[in-house]
C-alpha cells in the first residue's frame, strides 16, 4: 500500500496550510486587540480596518473550500439497462484492473475521460465513484483504444489514488483559491494606481511635456507582501503534490498496458491528441457554423457530426500527421500530468506484448442506439437558447449560414450606399451602383458613410482611406457574393475535406484531387481591383456577367 505515506504527506501538508492561515489571522486579530487596549481609538479603528482588509482574502480563500466544481458540470448519466454493452465492458475492465466498478457512468461532450469519487472524511473513506466519458472519444477511438483509456482511469482506483487524491486535490483547490483571492485584491489596487498615474500624465500633458508610460510597480505592494507566505507555500505544495499526481498517471498507464495492451495504449494517447484538434476544428467550422444565423445541424449531429469529419480522407491524412508529431508541451512544475509525449515514449519503450492494433470496431459500437444517446446529450449540454434554434440538414445549414454572413458583411456598405443617396433594392443592384460610383471617382465618397472608429474619424487623406479599406473590401465582397447568388444561382457547398466554398452551378466540387475552379480567389482579386486607389471594375463586372 504505497498510497498511505503519500496520503499522509498530503494530509500533513494541508494541515500546515491551515496552520499558516491560523497564524496569520491570529497575528491580525492580536494586533487589533492590542490596538484597542493601548492605542487611541482613531488609531485602533484604522488598524482594525487595515487588518480586516488584509484578512478578508485569507478568510474568503479558506471558506470557499469544499464544494468541488467537478461534479457540477453537465453530463448525461447512462444506466445499465440503457447501455448494457458499455456497462459490461466497464465492469469487465474493472475486474481485470482489480478494482470496484464505478457507480455511475456519465457521457460528456469533451475529448476527455475522467474518474471522480466523493470520498468522505478528507478522502480517507471511499465514496460514490463516477466515470466520465467524452462522446468524441467514442467517435474517434477504436474499441481497444477506449479499453485502454478506461483502464487508465480505473488504474487510478486500483492503487487507491482517487480516494487519497481527494485530499491532494482539495488541498490544491484551497491553496490556489487563497492565492487567487490575493491576486484579485492586488489587481484592484493596481487599477486604482493606474488611473491615478494616468491622471498625473494628463496633467503632465497639459504642462506641455508628453506623457510618461504608466508604471504600477510599487502598488499593491502590501497585498503582495501579505500574499508572499501563501504563495511560497502554494509553490511548495503544488510542486510536491504534482509529483504525486505524475506518479499516479504513470502507474495508471502501466495498468492500461496490462489490461488493453501496449500498442492500444500508446495509439490511444496519440489518437486523443489528434482528436482534440479535430474536435476543436469540427466545433468551430461545422457544429457552430450557423450559430449567428440561429441554425444548428440536425438533432444528434451537434456532437455526432464529428464522425463525418473523421471519415473524410483528407481529414484522415491530416490526423495521421498529427498522430505522428505529439505536441511539445511546455512542462510546468505545477501540472499534475506528465507531458503526453513523455508518457507515449515510456509506453512505447515497453516490450511488445504481441497484442498489436489490428483493425477494430469503432468504440461508438459499444453504445446501444447511439443516435438517440447523441440527441439526449444535446438536451443535457446545450443551453435553452441553442435548443430552441432551428435545425437544418448540413448542406442547407452551410448555405444559409454563409448567406447570413455575407448579408451581415454587406449590411453596413448597403447602409452607406443609401446614406450617399444611392438607393438600390437587390444586392446586384447595390453592387452595380457601387461599381458605377467607383468608375465615376466617387467610391470613397460612398465609403465615407461606413461606420468609423474614433481614430478613423480623425484621420484625413490617405490614412482615412486606409482605415475604411478593410470594411469597404469586406462589404464589397459580401455584396458580390450575394449578387452571384441572386443572378447566377451560386451557392455555398459544405465539404468535410475543406472549408465551405461558394460554387457556381456546374462547377461543383467532385471530391477527387482535381481542384474545381475557384470562384473565391477570382472574387477576392476582382474586389481588390475595384476598390484600389485607381479602381478597375472590369474584373468584377466580368465575373458577375457569368
Amino acid at each position: 500500500m504505497t498510497a498511505s505515506p503519500r496520503a499522509l504527506r498530503a494530509l500533513v501538508l494541508l494541515a500546515c496550510f491551515y496552520l499558516v492561515i491560523l497564524v496569520v489571522l491570529g497575528a491580525l486579530v492580536g494586533t487589533d486587540v492590542a490596538a484597542w487596549i493601548w492605542a487611541p481609538p482613531p488609531v485602533a479603528i484604522k488598524v482594525t480596518l487595515v487588518s480586516a482588509l488584509l484578512g478578508f482574502p485569507v478568510v474568503r480563500g479558506v471558506f470557499a473550500l469544499g464544494a468541488s466544481t467537478w461534479d457540477e458540470r453537465e453530463a448525461l448519466p447512462v444506466t445499465e439497462t440503457e447501455q448494457p454493452e458499455l456497462w459490461g465492458t466497464v465492469r469487465s475492465l474493472a475486474e481485470r484492473s482489480g478494482t470496484r466498478p464505478p457507480d455511475e457512468i456519465l457521457l460528456t461532450g469533451e475529448v476527455n475521460a475522467a474518474v471522480s469519487e466523493d470520498a468522505r472524511l478528507l478522502g480517507l473513506l471511499p465514496g460514490r465513484r463516477r466515470l466520465y466519458l467524452g462522446v468524441p472519444l467514442l467517435s474517434g477511438l477504436s474499441e481497444p483504444q477506449l479499453h485502454s483509456v478506461i483502464a487508465h482511469e480505473l488504474g487510478h482506483y486500483g492503487n487507491a489514488d482517487t480516494r487519497f487524491s481527494g485530499i491532494t486535490r482539495r488541498g490544491r483547490d484551497c491553496v490556489l483559491r487563497t492565492v487567487a483571492a490575493f491576486q484579485e485584491q492586488e489587481r484592484k489596487r493596481i487599477g486604482k494606481e493606474r488611473s491615478r498615474q494616468e491622471k498625473a500624465n494628463a496633467k503632465r500633458r497639459r504642462m506641455g511635456k508628453k506623457a510618461k508610460g504608466v508604471d504600477t510597480g510599487r502598488t499593491g505592494l502590501r497585498y503582495r507582501l501579505m500574499a508572499k507566505p501563501f504563495q511560497a507555500y502554494a509553490r511548495f505544495y503544488l510542486r510536491v503534490t504534482s509529483g504525486v499526481g505524475r506518479q499516479q498517471e504513470l502507474a495508471a498507464d502501466r495498468m492500461a498496458i496490462r489490461v488493453a495492451g501496449r500498442d492500444a495504449t500508446a495509439s490511444a494517447l496519440r489518437e486523443i491528441a489528434a482528436l482534440d484538434a479535430a474536435h476543436d476544428f469540427y466545433q468551430s467550422r461545422y457544429a457552430l457554423l450557423g450559430i449567428e444565423a440561429g441554425l444548428l445541424p440536425p438533432r444528434g449531429e451537434v456532437f455526432g457530426g464529428l464522425r463525418h469529419l473523421l471519415a473524410d480522407p483528407r481529414c484522415r491524412s491530416t490526423l495521421a500527421e498529427l498522430r505522428g508529431e505529439l505536441p511539445a508541451e511546455e512542462e510546468s512544475p505545477y501540472d499534475s500530468h506528465p507531458p503526453v509525449a513523455e508518457r507515449v515514449r515510456l509506453i512505447e519503450a515497453q516490450p511488445d506484448d504481441g497484442r498489436g492494433t489490428g483493425p477494430q470496431r469503432p468504440a461508438l459500437a459499444l453504445l446501444r442506439d447511439a443516435e438517440r444517446v447523441l440527441m439526449q446529450l444535446e438536451d443535457v449540454l446545450l443551453t435553452p437558447e441553442a435548443l430552441a434554434m432551428e435545425r437544418a440538414e448540413w448542406p442547407e445549414l452551410a448555405h444559409r449560414a454563409m448567406h447570413a454572413r455575407a448579408t451581415a458583411a454587406a449590411g453596413s456598405l448597403r447602409t452607406a450606399l443609401a446614406a450617399a443617396g444611392i438607393a438600390a433594392g437587390s444586392a446586384s443592384g447595390a453592387l452595380a451602383a457601387l461599381l458605377d460610383s467607383a468608375d465615376a471617382g466617387r467610391l470613397w465618397l460612398v465609403a465615407g458613410h461606413l461606420p468609423k472608429s474614433s481614430e478613423a474619424a480623425q484621420a484625413t487623406g490617405r490614412a482615412a482611406r486606409e482605415f475604411l479599406r478593410p470594411a469597404l473590401e469586406a462589404g464589397t465582397y459580401g455584396l458580390a457574393e450575394l449578387a452571384l447568388v441572386e443572378r447566377a444561382g451560386a451557392y455555398w457547398e459544405l465539404s468535410w475535406s475543406e472549408q465551405v466554398r461558394l460554387r457556381l452551378p456546374g462547377t461543383a466540387y467532385t471530391g477527387d484531387t482535381q481542384e474545381a475552379p475557384e470562384v473565391e480567389e477570382a472574387l477576392t482579386a476582382a474586389v481588390r481591383a475595384a476598390t484600389a486607389d485607381t479602381p478597375d471594375t472590369t474584373p468584377l463586372r466580368t465575373l458577375l456577367a457569368h
Binding site: 500633458r205 506641455g208 511635456k209 508628453k210 510618461k212 508610460g213 472608429s453 481614430e455 478613423a456 484621420a459 484625413t460 487623406g461 490617405r462 490614412a463 486606409e466 482605415f467 479599406r469 478593410p470 486607389d533 485607381t534
Partner: protein
Amino acid sequence: MSGKILPFVIVTVMLCFWLRSKRLAKRAERLAAEIGADLLPPERQNTDRAYPDPEAEAVLAALSQGDWQPAAQALTATGTDWERRSYLVGVIARRAADDDTWLRAWQAARPDDPDAAVVHADAKVSLAWQIRGGAWAKDTSAEQFAGFHRVLKEAREDFDRATSLAHPDDPTPYVLQIPLYMGLSAPHEALHQLWAEVTARAPYHYQAHWRALQYWSAKWCGSADLARNFAAQAAATAPRGSLLTMFPLVSWYAHNDDEAPDEAYGWPEMMALTEAALADVAAARPDHPRAAEVRHLLAYCLTKQGRHEAALEQFRLVDGYVEAVPWRYYDNPAEAYCRVRDVALKGAAASRLAG
C-alpha cells in the same frame, strides 16, 4: 542694549542683500532681453523644419499645385549626396502620404522612375505610422495595428521594386526600409543583413544610423544596452564631420531623459560626449542636412549642463526652425524650445554680470 541692536542689524543686512539681488536680477533680465533681442518668440518658430530649406519649400509648393516636376528635378539634382537624397525623399514622401494624386501622375508619366518608386515606398511607411499614431502600444487600437501592419507589408513590396530600380550604389531605399523592420519587429539577423546593404553603400550615413538606433532602442526591437553599444561603436569608428558622435547622446536622451536628474547631464562622461559632438559639428560640411538637428540637441544638453554661453551659440545658429529632437517630443515644440532657450539666455546674462 546690544541685545536689542543685533536683530536690527541682521534685518538691515538681509534687506540690503535682498535689494542687491533684486537689482542684479533686474539688470540680468534687461541684459538678457538685450542679447536675445534677435531671437524669435514661439509663434514665429517654424515647426516643420530644423533649418531653412528653400529648395524643399519650392518643391512642396509645386506639389500643392499637383506639379511633380520640381520634385523629380530636385531628386535628380541630389546626385550622390546620399544624406541630402534620403532627406529630400522623406520630405516629398510625407506629402505623398496625405495625398498621392501627383505621385500617381508622376508614375504614369515615368513608369520605371527610381525616384518616384522610392517616394512611393517611403510614403507607405509614413502612411502606416499615421494610421498607427504615436501612442504607446497599449493605447493603440487593434484596428490601428491591423492597418499599420497591412500598409507596412505593402511597403515591403514597394521597397523591393524601389531597390530593383535604384542605382546599385544608392543606399536610399535600404536606409528608408529600416522603419519597416522596426514596425514589423523583424529579427535582429534580418536587420544585420539590411545594415550590411546600407553600410556597403554609405558607411557613415547619419539618417541610417538614426533609424537603426531607433530599431535597437528598448522601445522597439532592442534594449538600452544594445542601443548604447550601437551608438558607441558608430561614434568610435566615424570620421570627423559625419556627426555620428551625436548618437551616444541621442541614445542616452531617448533612454534616460525622463527619469534622470538634470545633474546627470553634468557627469564627466556626458561632458566628454558633448565635447566630442561639438567638435564633430564644427568639422561638418556647412550644408550637412542634419547639422541643425545636431545643434538643437546639443543646445539642450549644454543648457542642462549650465554651459549657457555655449548653448546660446548653438541656439543662435538654429533659431527660427524647431522641428528637431528634443522639441518634437513635446506637444508644443516651439514653446518647449523657447523655454529652454530662455533658461540659457538668462543664465548667460547672469554670468556676464557676475564676470
